[in-house]
Symmetry: C3
Subunit: 316 residues, 3 copies
């Protein structure tokens, strides 16, 4: 090993050194990039601010709860600003801005926007928690939901990252969203607009696209997709970015596991129910119940050993 | 940033301070809550006790294996008892117990119950490992299964958390289960009853509900749901909690990817096979083979460039 | 607790001490096993070498980028060699080799093979990044893809672990692959052969088997399975390991969410499109478009409150 290191490392280093012609790592200023771990650390701090003492190793001591909160808010503000400034500076470089003098001010403004929304976000999350408790017979207490439900974690991160998305912060909202996706299997784009009282049960495999708009008290199960039907292209054949391509889901809709709803012009009217595994690419009016024709799997009678139940019994 | 912090932080802190009227963080005793990280740490210790040297950075040195085990068992017992005591105390407060004098004793009893079951749990897990090795052509060794298979990790955590669930420990079994869910995409409620020789291959998207009962040598693939068909409500329209709502799966059943089996009165008879993507809400007798009618996707002949194979060839 | 520990711990320790008759932990040399955390740490170092400064807490300072790279390469080489040597030694013991004298040389050779491939792997990953940018309207910059897209992370880990798989390293490629699976919900076996320009969007629930062969510029969505149709067994009824059992996907194929393609003799001809949820177990020629008959869910007209849209409206 040591011989190989001595002999071949210099060549390998020069082959791997940041190259100027490749789409990534093509910048000398790579040191200025936001760090994923730093972003996730600040995200966890924000979650800790919203739910004091409910996560993490060392719960807050009650007598100093306000002091802890003050310190946590101030340090999160400073460090998140630093990361966001790096993200603006990166964007500035990619877009060949004349001058990045405003990156610091933009970053400060974005952080203030987020922090000012925290009380409102917590209040919306309370409605999400109540929706989970009332929607899941397995839930024993609201604290169980706060401490363990992946659906609540995913929507908490989405509501936080959505505030930064609205403030046009590059990179960081998506890093936050993909952290939640990695942890929960729930992939909600930071751009989605989601009303209060939102509950996702189980959640693995859920995909909610950037331009989806979801009303109040909506309930989803695992594997639901609110996705794009097709992608518009420009004259050069490149995808057009930023147009509405994901569905609208109105108030009080329930969507069961594995249903797929696609298209920016598709609206699920309020108080509708969409059954499991339904494939839906057109709008349905309010109070609809959308179900697949009842599937009739073929049940082959026992061969290895005859069962006492009538042979050829079919699934109704 | 600093100006904003100085001016606005006090207001934000007071808006975010633990509130008395909201469903979470409505307690001065939040400091007594179990910590997720502490619970996960003890869970990892338990896994390390079951599979010594197979996980983690620093494998056990063979000459002191018993000493390491002794130290690990004692420290896990003490720390897990502390976390469980917090969980009982939280429950006690939520339910307005007159007095929580017994939380410590209850916690000690629960930990002892779990530890006493460890040899039996390890022996059942050996059968799970053998089932994985014999059920997966990609498995090269049993150690590969122990070190990397998500299905084994999920069932290991479930067997541990199930012991605490049976001892009526609040919060903690679900925190353990959701940790495994986050890591594996496999969501098994700690309440489920699962026989030995259980193997889940790939696993992402599997959901097994609280009241499911699974026999011996059952094999599942990714995306299988053993779920509830509907939720019973009481006269006030609230969900009734704690009733049997998930299926029974008898011995030697194989359930292929994406199958959905629902309902507390649904029983899959022993030695049955349930095909991929089947939707099943009624019981089937032993030795059944349940398949969807063979799907016939429409295959549009090549348009961009004719293929040499006969046009209009259909999928059989 | 303390009384129980004093009285019962010795018995529990002896019951749990590494046993000679069970399929795991049946060796005194357990101390020689590779550690999962150590393997994952070296994997993250390799990812950091490929994308300098794009991941992790402390980005590389530009002035010393080459120095950091040199140090990181040398330390990764040494530590990965140590882990791989343990894996070869474990395999040697399992297979009752006469002598494990060559484990160290085999490990050194495997590490050199991997390191020598790093420049080529990075160059292929650049094509993957471009494919993601051109294939996803939500992608704002290539850096967003590098920093947050689970599909890129999964294919990065697969390309690295595939090099070790080809060098016949036991245990470690699969530990790396399952780390990526845990983080992304994308389960790609290290054995799969995958061409450049590969993009998986969203990704949760994707399964790609050991013997799959995928061409250039292939695009998959969440929940796609490239799996085995059935397992061949030998005369004793044991699974035969190592035969071709997963499909071939030729260049420029797009496979939409939830499609299942099975079997080692199934080939998806180049430039084909496989629609969402399609179930395919036979080959299709180049330029095919494979879709399910358009599903027609039943839409029950509003009952609770009549909608103004025509009653009985059906999904087309």
């Amino acid at each position: 090993m040591e011989r190989w290191i001595k002999k071949h490392l210099p060549r390998l280093v020069s082959e791997l050194s940041p190259c100027r012609n490749c789409p990534v790592a093509n910048t000398e200023k790579v040191a200025n990039l936001p760090g994923q771990k730093a972003v996730v650390e600040q995200l966890e701090n924000l979650v800790g601010i919203l739910f004091p003492g409910c996560h993490g190793h060392a719960p807050v001591a009650s007598e100093s709860a306000e002091g802890v909160l003050r310190r946590l808010l101030a340090s999160t503000a400073r460090q998140l600003r630093d990361q966001i400034q790096r993200a603006f500076a990166y964007q500035c470089e990619v877009e060949h801005c004349a001058d990045c003098g405003s990156c610091r001010e933009q970053a400060t403004a974005a952080v203030i926007t987020l922090l000012d929304q925290l009380p409102a976000i917590r209040s919306i999350l309370q409605e999400d928690i109540v929706a989970a408790y009332e929607g899941d017979p397995a839930a024993r207490s609201t604290m169980e939901i706060v401490m363990s439900y992946p659906g609540l974690y995913a929507i908490t991160v989405q509501r936080l990252s959505h505030a930064l998305y609205q403030a046009h912060v590059p990179l960081i909202p998506r890093v936050m969203g993909e952290h939640a996706h990695a942890r929960t299997g729930i992939d909600i784009h930071p751009g989605a607009q989601i009303g209060p009282g939102f509950f996702i049960d189980h959640g693995t495999g859920v995909v909610i696209g950037e331009t989806a708009v979801i009303g109040r008290r909506v309930k989803l199960y695992q594997g639901v997709t609110l996705g794009a039907l097709s992608f518009a292209k420009d004259a050069q054949g490149h995808l057009i970015k930023g147009i509405k391509r994901h569905p609208n889901v109105e108030d009080n809709v329930v969507i069961y596991a594995g249903a797929t709803i696609l298209g920016g012009e598709t609206t699920i009217g309020h108080d509708s129910v969409v059954g499991a595994n339904v494939w839906l690419i057109h709008s349905v009016p309010p109070f609809s119940k959308v179900y697949n024709q009842e599937p009739k799997p073929y049940i082959k009678p026992a061969t290895a050993k005859p069962s006492k139940k009538p042979a050829g019994r079919k699934q109704r």
